[in-house]
């Protein structure tokens, strides 16, 4: 049984279909990149996978002992967060919220987990700093550490490098790649096709044409050739 299996999924808002007939599976240890034109439904797919939004049709099955709340999520930043007074420690710890259930306070184990993940992301020194004073790259590391507190298995990343400069972008991709090598399955939404074909093992292309397969199959396919030629020109787009 694969970690995640999507069957005949249709996405959209208010019965307006954005994408349909999506079929794909994600196995443990894979690195899936979801690409497609703007407005093709990449972010909507992400929200649907996270149960933030109901699918219009079809089903999402989780397997391999993955519970639906054991997914680590790296969302795009919201306006609210830009001037939010919160320390790095507080934000990372909030990744443990699924573990505490109805218990009002975090336990020693959860605080330890938060510390370990801050260390893993190299932000231990920033633990008492205010989130809004950090650079874009540091903020992403904080949110990644929080996502790691929520999962040991699967990370969903929504445009993890948007707004970052080229150097930090590369660092971020390397970091995600390391996590993947450590055994965490990655699903990433991106419009950076160059990085997608560099790091991912599998590609899901949504839009007018649908494609799902390994990276190599994608590069051989018409959809892939066309899209890479179209989008690949501008680095870090």
């Amino acid at each position: 049984m694969s970690l995640l299996e999507v069957k005949n999924l249709a996405l959209g808002y208010d019965n307006r279909v954005v994408a349909k007939d999506l079929n794909f599976t994600v196995n443990s240890g894979e690195y899936l990149c979801i690409v497609g034109e703007n407005g093709s439904g990449k972010s909507t797919l992400m929200k649907t996978l996270l149960h933030l939004q109901k699918p219009l049709d079809g089903e999402i099955l989780t397997g391999d002992g993955l519970k639906s709340n054991e997914i680590g999520y790296l969302p795009q930043q919201t306006i609210v967060q830009k001037d939010f007074p919160a320390s790095v420690k507080e934000i990372v710890l909030s990744g443990c919220q699924a573990r505490i259930g109805l218990r009002p306070f975090y336990s020693r184990d959860e605080k330890l987990l938060a510390r370990q993940n801050m260390k893993r992301m190299g932000i231990s020194k920033l633990r008492n700093r205010c989130y809004r004073d950090l650079s874009g790259g540091q903020q992403q590391r904080v949110l990644l550490a929080r996502a790691l507190c929520a999962t040991r298995k699967l990370l969903l990343l929504d445009e993890p490098v948007s707004g970052l400069d080229p150097k930090v972008t590369t660092e971020m991709y390397e970091l995600i790649s390391e996590l993947n090598e450590d055994g965490i399955t990655i699903i990433m939404v991106s419009h950076d096709i160059t990085a997608a074909v560099k790091y991912a093992t599998h590609i899901l292309h949504i839009g007018k044409k649908l494609f799902f397969g390994t990276k190599d199959e994608y590069l051989q396919s018409d959809t892939g050739k066309h899209f890479v030629a179209l989008e690949g020109g501008d680095d870090n787009a």
Partner: protein
């Protein structure tokens, strides 16, 4: 001057006013941080106008205990308003503005058509700006207010981590299985309760000030959610006490004086925040 203050402090109604003032300032500032950060600064304003409208309805219907009508209506409005945050046809700020002015107009209209006392403008003015009514508080008012405050503070402490999580990133919270809707509902009920309690103290036009000023002042100075919350509560209580004492000595209106002190404190925090560098602050 101290003699005069000491003399006033012997009166039970002054003691009651101080106790209630402190409790309300504490509760409103705790929730203020979350509301400001959730971009709901105006909810206090909106809900207090709803409470004003409900109070007008209650007095027209000659209810002896107005709370029976005012509290449920305000709570329902709070729940509806906080729900409008996401995916609705009318956006949050517009919904608040709509309900706010609508209720205000309706309340005044009702009081005008069915006047319950000869001094209509006096009644309206005291409901809007808080009034002498704080000087007519009874021990029952104090007990009710104390019980409500304990519930609000206890709920806040108990749900502190959840409230933080839902405020900072609602999508993430929902994705990992936190029941954000329930916590938003709890917040809405708490805020409605505080507003109805605060109406006597500062009146319905000035309640927003109690909610937003301490939070904004605190956010100028501190960089973690916990310190912002704690400092905002301390500052709010301090401003309320100072405001009530000044108003007793100088004979100024209670509500407006408290808000005046809050505004002054905000300016002080703004200046300190601008002078001191933000880095390294907890």
């Amino acid at each position: 001057m101290l003699d005069k203050l000491w003399e006033y402090l012997q009166y039970p109604f002054v003691q009651y006013a101080l106790i209630i003032g402190v409790l309300i300032a504490l509760c409103s500032s705790l929730l203020g941080v979350t509301l400001v950060l959730k971009r709901f600064s105006f909810i206090g304003d909106g809900l207090s106008h709803v409470a004003f409208g409900a109070m007008a309805v209650a007095s027209v219907l000659h209810f002896t205990n107005q709370m029976v009508i005012v509290m449920p209506i305000t709570i329902i409005s709070a729940v509806l308003l906080l729900r409008t945050g996401q995916n609705t046809k009318i956006k949050g700020d517009a919904a608040i503005a709509m309900i706010s002015v609508g209720a205000l107009a309706l309340g005044y209209l009702l009081m005008n058509i069915f006047p319950t006392s000869s001094n209509l403008s006096g009644d309206v003015c005291s409901t809007l700006f808080g009034s002498a009514s704080i000087l007519t508080l009874t021990i029952t008012d104090v007990i009710v207010c104390a019980v409500m405050s304990v519930i609000v503070v206890a709920a806040f402490l108990l749900f502190y981590n959840k409230i933080f999580a839902v405020t900072f990133d609602e999508n993430f919270a929902v994705a990992v299985g936190t029941k954000a809707k329930i916590y938003n509902l709890i917040l809405a009920i708490m805020i409605a309760v505080i507003i109805v309690m605060a109406m006597d103290l500062v009146g319905s036009l000035l309640i927003s000030a109690l909610i937003i000023f301490p939070a904004l002042s605190s956010m100028r100075l501190f960089g973690s959610f916990r310190s912002v919350t704690i400092f905002s509560a301390v500052l709010s209580v301090f401003c309320a006490l100072t405001g009530i004492i000044i108003s007793i000595i100088a004979g100024t209106p209670v509500g407006a004086t408290i808000v005046g002190v809050d505004v002054f404190a905000f300016l002080v925090c703004l200046i300190i925040g601008a002078v001191l560098p933000m880095r390294g602050r907890k």
